[in-house]
Symmetry: C2
């Protein structure tokens, strides 16, 4: 196995790669829409075929209650680590279709970009990783590490079958680390590595007053208005310092060490950056913390949706029977997940006046994760990125949640290395999603070097 030979060969096949990548992008594997069920299977079979052709073993479409999971492995590097490659082959719906410049499932190249739904999230990433493996296997020397693949088809709809699947196949999926390709870097010229993610708790709250809508003239002034109550309850979840008021919410929040704070401050993330990225008139958050801390080191709470009464045009003088909202918390270690719902209930007990009833539903609950930055698995990623991009990546903590990371910790006891090459402005989930082609090839090379470094460091 010669890494440089493999990389040279890879670079010579640019057109052939783009052609094969376009095949994958042309399959409308939209997991959210029932009419695309046959396309989900087509996409899974396409992947399995690639994996078989390039020399992976035990390739299989493993059934789940939803879409099949594509499995494959290569386990001929005794003494080397075993890495479980995670990805997903499903994509988001394409609406608003009218805003696409070229059709979402007819990949089109404009400049350095290939435009198609799923190009960046994440067919591009999984394709780059597979091509890196193919290039190595073609050289005839095998792989420097053992690999297993878990490529699911339900990530964009919340991965309902995944945790149970991992639990049931714990032995087969046993590994030393996960390589999660569903990730991005800061900029094309500035690699970065996410080593922490926030968890998520998502609630729905309904406040009920009278059993029926009432006329706001005939009853206005004498009864509780569920919208008013809901507003008061939601507004009361924060104090004037931007802190969440739920009892015990911050009790177990892990304090940032000076060392970690220094690492985080190395990145290019400051107020100016976030102000521009959000296009807001100003930033706002918990008093006493920087934006970087507020976004990923500190937990937070946001209302995600609210409704009640009349939402149509003009005026309707209704005093509604009920009102509701969805709200969620982003969680950090070491908040106790199982205590959250009772914290909310304790708050509601005292915040909702006796004239109203309330109903709380927990939609989802997943832990945050902080990975060991100095592990060989993450350090190999640092080294690979540095070699390919010519500069050391900086570390960042991500404010959002990637539930599979927590599942892997929980079910398999391993950390994930977040290594992908999407860009923040790829337009994932929106119209005209794109993937930089030069970055796609840099990604292939990085994945290749990553395996090489990880195998060499044994």
């Amino acid at each position: 196995m010669d890494v440089n030979v493999a990389i040279t060969q890879m670079k010579e096949q640019r057109e052939s790669y783009i052609k094969r990548f376009s095949e994958a992008l042309a399959i409308p594997s939209v997991s959210a829409l029932q009419q695309h069920k046959p396309d989900m299977h087509r996409m899974a079979r396409w992947l399995a075929k690639q994996m078989e052709v390039m020399g992976l073993e035990h390739v299989e479409l493993m059934p789940t209650p939803k879409n099949p999971i594509v499995y494959g492995d290569w386990l001929h590097a005794p003494g080397s680590p075993t890495v479980l490659v995670y990805g997903h082959y499903d994509v988001q719906p394409v609406d608003p279709l009218s805003e696409w410049i070229s059709p979402p499932f007819e990949p089109a190249i404009r400049g350095d970009y290939i435009y198609a739904r799923g190009a960046s999230d994440m067919k591009g990433q999984i394709f780059a990783q597979l091509m890196a493996v193919e290039a190595l296997l073609k050289t005839g020397g095998g792989l420097p590490v053992n690999l297993k693949y878990l490529i699911e088809g339900d990530e964009e709809v919340g991965s309902p079958p995944l945790q149970e699947f991992i639990r049931r196949h714990r032995d087969r999926l046993h590994c030393d680390a996960v390589l999660n390709c569903d990730s991005i870097i800061h900029a094309a010229s500035m690699p970065s590595l996410v080593y922490a993610l926030r968890g998520l708790a998502y609630f729905e709250l309904e406040i009920c007053g009278s059993p029926q809508d009432l006329h706001s003239g005939s009853f206005g002034g004498i009864i509780r208005n569920p919208i008013d109550v809901l507003c008061g309850v939601l507004a009361g979840m924060h104090d004037k310092k931007g802190r969440v008021t739920l009892p015990g919410f911050y009790d177990k929040v892990r304090t940032l060490s000076d060392e970690e704070r220094a690492v985080l401050m190395e990145g290019p993330y400051n107020d100016e950056y976030y102000l521009k990225l959000s296009a807001s008139r100003g930033l706002y958050g918990e008093e006493g913390y920087s934006s970087v801390e507020r976004l990923a080191v500190r937990p937070c709470l946001d209302v995600n949706g609210i409704w009640g009464g009349y939402e149509g045009k003009g005026a309707k003088t209704v005093l509604p029977a009920k009102a509701g909202a969805k709200f969620s918390m982003r969680l950090v270690p070491d908040q106790e997940l199982n205590a959250l719902e009772s914290q909310v209930r304790a708050y509601l007990e005292q915040a909702v006046p006796r004239e109203c009833r309330w109903k709380l539903t927990l939609h989802s609950l997943g832990p945050g994760a902080v990975m060991e930055r100095n592990s060989r698995y993450i350090q190999a990623a640092v080294e690979a990125q540095e070699t390919v991009f010519g500069r050391k990546p900086f570390f960042r903590r991500e404010g959002a949640s990637v539930p599979v990371v927590g599942m892997m910790q929980e079910e398999l006891g391993v950390d994930s290395v977040m290594l992908g090459f999407g860009l923040p402005d790829d337009g994932i989930h929106g119209p005209n999603e794109k993937q930089s082609l030069s970055l796609l090839f840099k990604g292939m090379e990085t994945y290749l070097r990553y395996m090489d470094i990880l195998g060499s460091n044994v």
Copy 2:
């Protein structure tokens, strides 16, 4: 003209009246729906024909930018007062149609009730008034008062052409008082008279944060959430004592005299009554006032609708770009209508944080009204009800708004007598709207005696 002869004759024609009333109820004069435009004209012509046949003069369908107004008059009682009879011939839409026991435009009699859309609101009231006039004219003695009719076809859609119409035809509509038949009594055995109505100011507020929806994980904790801001702003419009916090809101509110309070306390309206009527778990309102006062003597503010972010099933982790709400105030004399919007703006200036923008729209603004209880026009109504129902009506102030009352005060300088015979549980605006037939005939008799008393008291 002999009142008792007229009343006796009226009572003998029960079946014939019901047949004629059913003709009116069978016309689907739904002003809100464009497909019923021809029915609006049919209904207007039906009314005009009745008026002509019974002997009214100058009967005319007067055009407006929306539906025609039916006019007619009888002006041969020199020295007697001139009363402008107000009503509307349009009705509410019928959905949910599936909940109607009999079709809404096929009048059906079950027990003492006739079921049809518009039976109570308000074809029944206007029919009763016309039949009273017909009975008097049939006796050959003419009428004891001068009458003019203004029956509009757009009340259920907010009467958009009405104020301009009244202003343009001020001379023709000149009168001493308005007899507004669009009203109800407390119970079949307990007559009541509304002598005051609250006004209405209806606003819409939008709070904008970032120009686009953001991911709540990637931005949660560092920017203002427009839903949170909206909730805080709306919740802050009331203090802990249930008082509206808008600066100057209560400044000009007229204090209730001891005499008027005593009059209001004669009615059957207490907390128990409102608790049952609203089916709420408890009443709530401005500290220091009774329910009767909170409902009609004091102004109030209610949120009528709220929206923002994700309202669908399940979870979406969105941090929305904007959120909005509709809210309205019920107004009482002598609040300054033109100061209200600036009160709201003054409040918003300090309540909305600088990171958000806001937009306020005023949808409608109409004054409240308190009529002179001791005027001959209202006292004649008291006397007529007492004669027909065998008990003195009690006075009440209505919490809701009837904009035409304010318009008549403003454009013609006259008070309105609210005299109608609907019941609070007639199901107006909902399925299975009904009108008590015995009350319809008591209504005819009351209208007849009302004219007689008003004419005699000259």
